[in-house]
Symmetry: C2
Subunit: 444 residues, 2 copies
């Protein structure tokens, strides 16, 4: 009887293993990869192999046969046997002198264009259409490797700080964020929705685990097509109990970002180099009140305040610019948003009930996080619902949280694609969503 033991069964060597070989182990070595690019040098060719986490240069002596031409087709998946030697000019400091190539699989068609250039010279629209191909580009795949690496950093920080990961339903009976921006579906004859956020559930779980987080898709049926909105995106959500004020939440996020950037420098230095980016360095993040931020921008840029209770995207951008120029900070927390801009679960500021104990985090002039302290008292929550024109009886299971008690708490939601977008200085959020969903796009 066959038995699976869990021991490694695929023996082809990785880039790290190739580099770590001792002198007497460097012959007759086997590795695999995809032919990313072939540079014909006449008698020989450089085959650039795309491997799991980088490129490896192979040197192949040509015989100019027809089989050879087929063998060296781009996107062929091959197994290579040969000798490893040092080559400082090669990307990993090594190259493989090829003795044998085994073709494991071949495409049925040639690529529509070469994907091995650093940046692809096509429009974003067209690039997205064929993401199954363009993601194979070394730069493009690095973008989403960065996404994965950031999530690792966040998770490590949150786990270190006692947060429990939760998995909450995405098919729900009511929207958490209100408004018309919600996808509807038929659920066995009942009306259901796609969760706009895990808000109700993460709050519900504060009395259970005190600190919880979820990194998962959320759905917004927003009808406007902009460079910074997606209809489905990855939301980094956390919620924490026993806070003294919403500054505890702000502080936790600051710690998370610092930890994550350190984590990236430490573990993904090569990736950051491939992307050609430098991470923001900071000891602290300034916090400014919504009202004051508007006044600062009005004064510095000689603008009129049109609506004291709203923030235009242009104002957001200018707040970012101001804090970069005057305080050297890429990040700024804007606090105390007006009641009318915040959902019904936001706690009012006891010092001025036109404002709430809430905040946004702006990164290079764009909102990447919304958070704040939530109402924990039952009567206060019911009152605020009614004030907002909602019916408390529609929120029976959510209100169990308040009815049966919960600690003072707060949390936030961060848009993962926006963070990555700003880190790599992209102008359109579709560049940092693998398979973006917008009002016209359901494919790929």
């Amino acid at each position: 009887m066959v038995k699976a033991t869990g021991e490694r069964t695929i023996m082809d060597l990785s880039i790290e293993e190739l580099k770590a070989l001792k002198d007497d182990e460097r012959k007759n070595v086997t590795t695999h990869g995809t032919i990313y690019n072939v540079r014909d040098m006449g008698d020989f060719a450089f085959i650039i192999l795309r491997k799991i986490n980088g490129l490896v240069q192979c040197v192949y002596t040509k015989n100019n046969s027809e089989e050879e031409k087929k063998m060296l087709q781009e996107e062929n998946c091959i197994r290579v046997t040969g000798e490893v030697r040092d080559e400082q000019r090669a990307v990993n400091g090594i190259e493989i002198l090829v003795e044998k190539i085994e073709v494991l699989s071949s495409p049925s068609e040639e690529l529509p264009f070469s994907i091995s250039k650093r940046k692809l010279n096509i429009s974003l629209e067209n690039e997205i259409e064929i993401r199954p191909v363009t993601l194979r580009n070394e730069y493009k795949r690095s973008v989403f490797k960065l996404q994965a690496a950031i999530v690792r950093g966040f998770r490590e920080y949150l786990e270190n700080n006692g947060f429990t990961e939760i998995f909450t339903p995405k098919i729900v009976a009511a929207g958490a964020e209100g408004g018309a921006n919600i996808f509807k579906l038929d659920y066995f004859g009942k009306k259901a929705f796609l969760a706009q956020s895990p808000q109700f559930y993460k709050q519900t779980l504060v009395p259970v685990y005190e600190r919880v987080y979820e990194i998962a898709p959320v759905f917004r049926a927003e009808k406007h097509d902009t460079a910074r909105h997606l209809n489905e995106y990855v939301s980094v959500d956390f919620e924490m109990g026993y806070i003294n004020s919403f500054y505890d939440v702000i502080n936790m996020e600051t710690g998370m970002l610092k930890y994550c950037f350190d984590f990236l420098e430490k573990n993904y230095a090569l990736l950051l180099k491939k992307l050609g980016i430098e991470l923001p360095k900071f000891d602290s993040i300034p916090c400014v009140k919504f009202r004051e931020a508007k006044e600062m921008v009005a004064a510095k840029y000689n603008r009129k305040i049109k609506d004291p209770y709203d923030l235009e995207p242009e104002e957001e951008r200018l707040i970012g610019e101001l804090f970069k120029e005057d305080h050297g900070s890429d990040f700024v927390f804007v606090t105390h948003y007006p009641v009318k801009k915040r959902p019904f679960y936001a706690m009012d500021d006891p010092e001025d009930n036109k404002y709430t104990l809430s905040f946004d985090l702006l990164f290079k002039g764009m909102e990447i996080t919304t958070g704040g302290q939530r109402i924990h008292d039952y009567d206060a929550q019911v009152k605020k619902m009614i004030f907002k024109g909602l019916y408390p009886e529609d929120f029976e299971s959510y209100l169990m949280l308040h009815k049966y008690g919960c600690p003072p708490h707060g949390g936030l939601g961060m848009g993962l694609e926006r963070l990555v977008m700003k880190l790599i200085d992209e102008k359109n959020i579709r560049a940092t969503s693998m398979f973006p969903r917008d009002t016209t796009r359901l494919n790929p």
Copy 2:
């Protein structure tokens, strides 16, 4: 200007910190938690405090005032100041001699029943109705802590083995698993679906990252209500390239389970004790062909084989029983499922094309994983689609994978709730989904 530094701001001590205090630090200590239970002992009371990851006993000297009664209400969130002392009979080996209690928040209603017993004495139906409350029970919250811990173990193993985490869209243009079991929604006037699995996307990403994983919700509109089906569940998916056969996938899963159980023993010993479970111990997992498994069960239990190309739940259970009895194994891989039971992307067995190079993993007689090798050749995939009655033109973006080349690859999907269900010996899968979705349930 306020600045957030990321340094800790909530100074109340955790259980670990309370236990680690030196003798001269044990006075005037502050911690917080929720009143889980009060045991009145006449002149004094034991207050059991529910904290982030366990219970702490506090000893409180009574004065029998009206305020005191209010202060000691269950589910009050309090901050306690007092002296820590050793108490071997208390759950953590310490207790707190209370000097001061500050009530941070109070429920507006008493609990419908006490939740501090080990197991709640109500029906599963009723228990689910009020999950926001019942999850606060120490046993119930441990169940979902185990879920989170398992995911941590899986992630650690997958990252160690070079897998990249991916985030794929849940609103899709076509179902990956076929059939009518799919939720439909209106997407800005277009017909869209909720993803039954990340199958197409994870395969698409094999040429990009070679090894990918995703742990995320999947949606199945199955109309039948059983003890082992949910309409939304958490799927642990991975996919890997350059496999020699589907046994490489089987082996990776075996390694993942072994690693995860070791991880739990090492890092969550107390949790396992709270749940009163022992993890399965094994060096290897036996593999048996579908056809042989059916014959073994027929012989041993004197059953007739009704349909040689299908497996009844009862047969599944008996295969589990047989391998437990005859081979001492809780797990068994059943391999080479019939073509008619597998989707169009499954690779046929070249030795017998009525079967596929696929497998299920049974755990204690229940399927918890489905996986196998996928078709990587374009012509073969198109041919199989047509054989299955599908139109290749409906799968244009998926087929880019095959058209532009991909390595031999395979992968699997595991139902997280089922794994936990079998680990804690629950009979109904709703016990291991925090907020289960079934044909009649959208709430809480």
